[in-house]
Subunit: 245 residues, 2 copies
């Protein structure tokens, strides 16, 4: 049933956020999506992350309106009898943001996480925003989300050899709040784990073209590695194994 | 080996934070702790949450210095050959903050979570701050922490019939950040769960005396229940079943 596309180029956009302040849903990245999806007529939407707990239908409608502006039809994965078949046959796939724990939970529950990895690695164009980007990493251990459900595993697709911290926030030097900063949380992660973590600020995204991973948007991103000082990567940096080492 | 104390009064302090801005470790709550632990000479410290990834020894030393000021000796649970025996024999127990996922992971790994629940319910005085407070709830699903390790379960002690959101933060109306507010995250929790959640601001704590649960400190706390508007509870409120219903 799966049209083997292994000779095609891997094409992925991994965005920190769906929305930047003061603009509409996907608006800031729509010109990029128009060119990225230029050969695509239909997209499969995965609404499992349910931001603010909205229904799959409501969330899919939101994606449908945004993609309608670039003449791409959207169908929600929940509209298919067989979600795995929907993934295998999809022309392109978009996983929206929301709660990463619930997203990963449903990807396992509906038995689509492996198929998703396989088709994206074989060339099905993929867009992730926020939670949908977190699942492109090795595991979901750098999500900012609340653990509102217990997924069977934290392992995700590993489409890139590092993890994403979406909506990356710099410490606020004027804050009187004693909760951990994002940087402290990621440093705690590296006490127990070796996987590098990229803090992607809102408005930034990664464009993966085969094995090239490029930082896009206007902002720098912050790279955290175990036992090393965090470093800033400029926009347009190609994230190589040497940079991650 | 366990000195059965079931006729004693349950005594628990559940604090949002160990430290309020501009003061030393436990300083704001030390007068309260002096009276709460007035019959106690030694306290067992559980350093499993490892804030910023510090070692058990370093963390225990921090607790030792603070409790030294009120003439209470501190011993870390990791200094004992048998952690379960240490819990069962402890005169009083303090679990410090840090990463809730790692704390819960170690409580299961060291097989002490059940014993901890049993002794506290039987009268061993217990202090929790931050992550150490989250584990007093039904489960750890309202932690703000990053899932840096995968614990065998999210279930915790259930010493109180609701969950804690420590370091509760009100939405910042001036923020341009698109990540979810704390309130949105807790509302997402209630799409999937029924357990009430109490947002405890820094400087607030709960004092549990048998089955009375009283909000202490100067601030109000924010109570979230499934399918209801969130409400503010004033300081000194006794949190009854009616309030939680």
């Amino acid at each position: 049933m799966f049209d083997l596309r292994k000779y095609k180029v891997k094409k992925i956009i991994i965005a920190s956020t769906s929305t930047v302040h003061g603009t509409g849903y996907l608006e800031y990245i729509l010109p990029e999506l128009k060119s990225f999806f230029n050969k695509v007529k239909t997209i499969l939407f995965i609404p499992y992350a349910r931001p603010s707990g909205i229904s799959y239908d409501t969330y899919t409608e939101k994606a449908r309106v945004a993609f309608g502006k670039i003449n791409i039809q959207v169908k929600g994965i929940h509209e298919f009898d067989n979600p795995e078949e929907a993934v295998l046959k999809a022309e392109a796939i978009f996983t929206g943001g929301g709660n990463t724990f619930e997203l990963v939970n449903q990807l396992y529950k509906n038995d689509v996480i492996t198929s998703l990895k396989v088709v994206v690695e074989s060339g099905t164009p993929y867009l992730g925003t926020s939670a949908g980007s977190n699942i492109c990493g090795v595991n979901m251990m750098n999500t900012n989300d609340m653990p509102i459900v217990y997924p069977p595993s934290f392992d995700t697709m590993g489409l890139i050899p590092f993890n994403i911290n979406a909506h990356y926030l710099d410490p606020d030097p004027t804050s009187k709040h004693m909760g951990e900063t994002r940087e402290t949380r990621i440093k705690e992660f590296h006490v127990f784990n070796k996987v590098p973590v990229l803090g992607l600020r809102e408005g930034s995204w990664l464009e993966v073209s085969n094995n090239d991973i490029k930082l896009k948007g206007e902002l720098s991103a912050r790279l955290f590695r175990k036992n090393k000082e965090a470093v800033e990567l400029d926009a347009e940096t190609i994230i190589t194994q040497e940079i991650l080492a």
